[in-house]
Amino acid sequence: MLTIFHRLAAAVIKEIRLILRDKEALIILFIMPMVFVLILSLALRDSFHERAGVRFALLIVNQDRGPVGDKLVEIFSQSANFRTEVVTANGPVPSAAALDADLRAGRYKFAFRIPPKTSERALRRVQQQLGLQPTGKVPEASVALTLLSDPTVRGDQRALVQAALNRALQGVESGMLLQQFAAIGKRLAPFAANVPGVPALRAPKTLDAFAEVKDPDETGKPYKEQTPTSVQQNAPAWTMLAMFFLVIPLSVTLIKERQVGSLTRLQSMGAPAWVLLAGKILPYFVINQVQLVLILIEGMYVLPLFGGDVLTIGDAPVAIALVSVAASLAAIGFGLLIASFSRTPEQATTFGATSVLVLAAVGGIMVPKLVMPPAMQRLGDLSPMSWGLEGFLDIFVRGGGVAEVLPECSQLLVFAAVCLIIAVWQFARRMANVS
């Protein structure tokens, strides 16, 4: 028993030494996927946000010291569609130029300023409209609010935000009108008491709209349509590609060992075939797990430093491990399959790289399946890389656990088993051909 452990340990140590000394393999297996995760998570951050529902960064410069300003800030702060920051008259107010620069830099998508004395002016205007102000005075002009926006913002988005702002303003105005009516009602109360059917008028505490358009409830959405953030998509996607890219070093070392005769030498020493096989599978399995851990760490701790979203990975570590193990076995099985059908390292590299890239492209690794037309999505369902990715998305995005990832894991394990059986059969056929 113990010697089995030592044999496998020797195989793992040797294979990891070889990988660590093979700069090309290191770049393909570790550097490339981590760079891709970083770049693409950052580059696609906003387009994923838009799919998930818009959430704009908004700056409100509130110079009003009255109820109108407070009410607007409240409305936008509570909206799910805005990430609102407020600058009040109490603090330093940014200059027009500074505001412009912030918008251009993309720090805020939108900004507007509530000028000083807005509340007073609004009140005067409402009262004038109701004829409560002495007549003959110059009518109060409407308050000018300008909506500033990041130059890259699309026109339709700007129109939406403008509509939201207008609706908020109308709400504030309705509230003020009701208050005025209530005040009049209060004064009329002694008289109204004598008129049957006239209640005492009072201003409502909150102004409830009779109907409100709500966002669809995310949890009620069809399970598979919940949208990931860009890092939730990219981290597991490139992990899958990285895992499958070990097909290249795995098949190349295997073929070189066959060519150079170290496999023969091991056989002549009486090393059983299964130890040789396990001695290949185990080290690459370890490498796969290191790849996943590195990319998860990158997404959780490094990406936020560059302004990306934090990678949230759900709370089912066992399910993550399960998907990772199944995906790794599938990748290793595929690598052995390629090695068994290639004669030279060059063949294995070409065939391995091409097939892995095709499986990745089809499987929604490079371009998310969300944006693919239905026919392409169905084609993508055939790629093992897509199974692994969906498994991770089940956990990261949809709150899935072990039960939810079992279908994907079974697919991956069946794929691994089929590859392994064909590879072993092909290796055996080759051996028989030599003899």
């Binding site: 040797k14 170290s262 023969t264 091991l266 002549s268 030599v434 003899s435």
Partner: protein
């Protein structure tokens, strides 16, 4: 034969699939325990094929192979552990150091801990690789690689060491170093099978020799026996210019000449009466306008036995 045979080969044949003729053809061999056994043969003679079958790497087409009385075809791991094979092609990892190569193969043999370290030190000592133990093999010279390739076969202390051309491409110093070590190992009780196409080294090193050509054993015995066997002598002449066809025909027709082979300015004649043939051949060449620049015959070298037996034609 006093010692009990460690290897017994009977009527062993191997035909590769699709090959026109067998690579090993009805070989019978008995190799005594505790000897250094030389297997000589030109390129393509079937040496590697024979050794591969001996190590259980290649199934024979027919015949039997026994090591210490046990049939090799049973693929018993216990038999394999008695053999140490240093393959003809360097089976090394160039990106690993010498020590790491040894540690890997040692580990795959199930060695670990202090036992592994002891064997590593022993092997590095034996190969004289202590100074370069931690250098990557890719930086090694041909001689260093050969030595490492050889000592990996010693890791598990085999009873029978099988060396397939262990000295190709190395300088005389390295070769002597290897030979001294092999003699020491043999003195400590290890049986050794040594294949080569270099005659002198087999002559110096081996107790017993078999000469193989076209898959058949064409001579076998102790070095002394092979040299002493009554056989036609070889007469080698070197000429100033390649002999013209007319001279070649005349030499073949010369009395007592058995065979005559020509290779540029080299002439090799075989004859049972070299003392008569040698001066006659020189005179005949002179008459054809060809001067003899050197002549040798008599005191047989194993090389001449080898050439006499296998011919001088180039092999593929």
């Amino acid at each position: 034969m006093t010692a009990s045979p460690i290897v017994e080969i009977r009527q062993l044949s191997k035909t590769y699939p699709g090959a026109g003729r067998p690579a090993v053809d009805g070989v019978d061999l008995a190799i005594a325990h505790g000897r250094i056994f030389g297997l000589l043969g030109p390129n393509g003679a079937g040496k590697t094929t024979l050794l591969s079958m001996l190590c259980g790497l290649l199934p024979p087409s027919s015949g039997s192979l026994r090591i210490r009385g046990q049939d090799v075809r049973h693929q018993d791991a216990a038999i394999k552990r008695r053999l140490g094979l240093a393959p003809q092609d360097l089976a090394l990892y160039p990106y690993l150091t010498a020590r790491e190569n040894l540690a890997y193969f040692g580990g795959m043999l199930g060695l670990h801990g202090a036992a592994l370290r002891r064997r590593l030190d022993y092997c590095l000592d034996t190969a004289g690789l202590n100074d370069v133990a931690d250098r990557r093999v890719e930086t090694f010279s041909g001689g260093l690689k050969r030595r490492l390739n050889l000592v990996i076969a010693l890791l598990h202390e085999p009873e029978l060491l099988i060396l397939d051309e262990p000295t190709v491409g190395i300088d005389p110093q390295s070769r002597r170093f290897i030979h001294e070590n092999l003699k020491r190992l043999n003195a400590e009780g290890m049986s050794i099978i040594y294949t080569s196409h270099y005659m002198e080294e087999v002559e110096q090193l081996c107790d017993e020799v078999a000469i193989i050509d076209h898959g058949r054993i064409i001579a076998q015995g102790s070095v002394d026996e092979l040299l002493a066997a009554p056989r036609e002598a070889t007469i080698e002449l070197r000429t100033s210019v390649p002999p013209p066809p007319a001279a070649q025909a005349a030499l073949r027709a010369l009395a007592h000449v058995h065979t005559a082979e020509f290779d540029g300015k080299f002439v090799v004649l075989t004859s049972a009466a070299p003392q008569t043939v040698a001066p006659a051949a020189m005179r005949l060449l002179h008459e054809n306008g060809v001067e003899t620049t050197s002549l040798s015959f008599g005191a047989m070298h194993l090389e001449q036995v080898f050439l006499a037996l296998t011919g001088t034609r180039l092999r593929n």
